[in-house]
């Protein structure tokens, strides 16, 4: 489903964010991307969503080569992905319901069906009662859960999350992790970039460990694809 073959991405000729990365992730896997800050976790996720393109190597998502994708095809790739950004990127002039509705509006869902799906997604993350609230009125954990609701409202096959539990206290972080676990359990492929090794420890997730842009052999967990 997601395959990297000798992928490199440089921001400047001598600074490699990712260097010769090769791995494969099967449908339905839960993969934790670990590593220090600046190790290349965000870049790896951005390559999957075609927010960035590889300088060399091949990134395959759902059988599509991201490097060959025409600009006009990128929106349709993204509609099959759920993205949770490090900075959340919520729209602060829209309420919880409208924020969650956005991907469905973009995809052109009929309004009734869209409203039904929005409520289902909000229910899943426990924000159903706050649908009229503006994001500023939400706590940090609630904002994060809103970001997740927006990412999954499209029912994507792949969910990508960049540091979804940063800035959250351990209890709230645990609740957010539980939401990802639920999606994994219903068959969604989940990639979570996090420096928090213990986040999904009970699930024994596959792990990709990055160190200065290179993939480290990780003795602590199964490599993905097995």
């Amino acid at each position: 489903m997601i395959r990297f073959e000798h992928v490199s991405r440089r921001y400047q000729p001598d600074i490699a964010a990712l260097l010769d990365i090769t791995f494969e992730i099967d449908t339905g896997q839960l993969v934790l991307i670990g590593g220090h800050s600046g190790a290349g976790k965000t870049t790896l996720l951005k390559l999957i969503a075609a927010i960035e393109r590889p300088d060399s190597g091949m990134v395959m998502v759902n059988g599509q080569n991201i490097g060959d994708l025409k600009p006009a095809a990128i929106p349709f790739l993204r509609r099959n992905l759920g993205l949770v950004f490090q900075d959340q990127k919520l729209l602060f002039d829209r309420n919880v319901f409208e924020n969650t509705l956005l991907p469905l509006s973009i995809a052109g869902f009929p309004p009734k069906e869209a409203a039904r799906r929005v409520r289902a997604a909000l229910d899943k993350v426990g924000l159903l009662k706050r649908e009229r609230a503006l994001p500023v009125a939400l706590s940090g954990g609630e904002q994060q859960r809103l970001a997740i609701a927006r990412a999954v409202v499209n029912r994507p096959g792949i969910l990508l999350a960049d540091e979804p539990t940063a800035h959250l206290d351990p209890v709230t972080a645990g609740e957010v992790a539980a939401i990802f676990r639920d999606f994994h359990q219903v068959g969604v492929t989940v990639l979570v970039a996090s420096y928090d090794d213990q986040l999904f420890a009970p699930l024994a997730p596959s792990r990709l460990l990055l160190n200065h842009g290179t993939l480290m052999p990780d003795a602590g967990a199964r490599p993905p694809g097995q």
Partner: protein, 304 residues
């Protein structure tokens, strides 16, 4: 299928609603820019309104020259009728109108100030006259006809009336060109205004545009509301210009009627013709859309 059409329609409706909200959310700036564009557009539109009225009041035959023929004062009624019959039979005469001296006298007596002057005179000072519309309006043909009629007995004076008509025609042509040039220039002004307005909108919506792109929005989806916004701005401005021209028409109606009355011309000032109004509003909407499209081309490039 119907669902899909509905969804598509609802996307357009949403984009339209967004554009409307953008206008309403800042009523004062919106009103001010609408006023500025409306006044700008009202200039060529008002010019077109005046031109239309001049054309209509001057009459369709304003460019067809006429010849006035005055008889000697001592011509009797019978001779005048004979001359009239002879004129009527000329192949180069298309239309003939007889103006008897008694009628001319009556008309002038009706005018204030002139009645006293006329009362002093012992006789009717006006001659019998004919107004001739010639079949051909070439200068050479007209002058030939004038010279020929001038040689007839009892004909005192033959006057060619084509000069003022030609001047008016040239003036109207100039006016029409002026209105077109003004229209094009101020249309470009409208494009420029929408260009900057849309640029500001894009800047204030930067986050929303970025997030929408990340969530799989196509270029068309992102552009659509801005296109509506530009077209709406143009449409409302066109309507505003139309209202201004209407107000000016109504305000000028009285004074213009007084003026034309003094010249003995019948006709009241009419507002912009229906087709001109539609062209005005359609044109300004199109220019607004164009300004938006150009602005998006410049300011909405995907950062890569």
């Amino acid at each position: 299928m119907i669902e899909a059409i509905n969804a598509r329609f609802s996307q357009h409706a949403k984009a339209m609603g967004w554009a409307l909200r953008r206008l309403v959310v800042a009523p004062l700036p919106t009103l001010l820019s609408l006023l500025a564009i409306s006044i700008t557009l009202a200039l060529p539109a008002g010019g077109q309104m005046l031109l239309g009225n001049v054309l209509r009041i001057a009459g369709n035959d304003s460019v067809t020259p006429q010849i006035s023929l005055f008889l000697a004062l001592d011509t009797d009624r019978r001779t005048a009728e004979l001359i009239g019959a002879r004129l009527k039979n000329l192949p180069s005469v298309r239309e003939l109108r007889y103006v008897p001296r008694s009628e001319t006298l009556k008309r002038f007596q009706a005018r204030e100030g002139l009645a006293e002057v006329l009362a002093v005179l012992p006789d009717n000072p006006f001659p019998d006259a004919f107004v001739i519309t010639p079949r051909e309006d070439g200068t050479a043909a007209l002058e030939q006809l004038r010279d020929e009629l001038g040689r007839w007995p009892k004909v005192e004076l033959v006057q060619l009336d084509s000069d003022w008509a030609r001047r008016l025609d040239a003036l109207l042509r100039l006016g029409r060109t002026g209105v077109s040039v003004l229209g094009v220039l101020l249309g470009l002004g409208l494009v420029a205004t929408t260009f900057t307005t849309i640029r500001l909108q894009v800047l204030t919506q930067r986050t929303e545009i970025e997030v929408s792109r990340l969530l799989g929005a196509t270029d068309a989806f992102i552009r659509r509301p801005f296109h509506y916004f530009g077209a709406l701005l143009g449409l409302l401005s066109g309507f505003g210009a139309w209202l201004i021209v209407l107000a000016v028409t109504l305000a000028l109606r009285g004074p213009v009627a007084e003026l034309t009355g003094l010249y003995g011309i019948a006709g009241t000032l009419r507002p912009l013709a229906v087709n001109d109004s539609l062209i005005l509003i359609g044109f300004s909407a199109a220019m607004g859309w164009l300004g938006a499209a150009l602005s998006l081309l410049r300011h909405l490039r995907e950062p890569s």
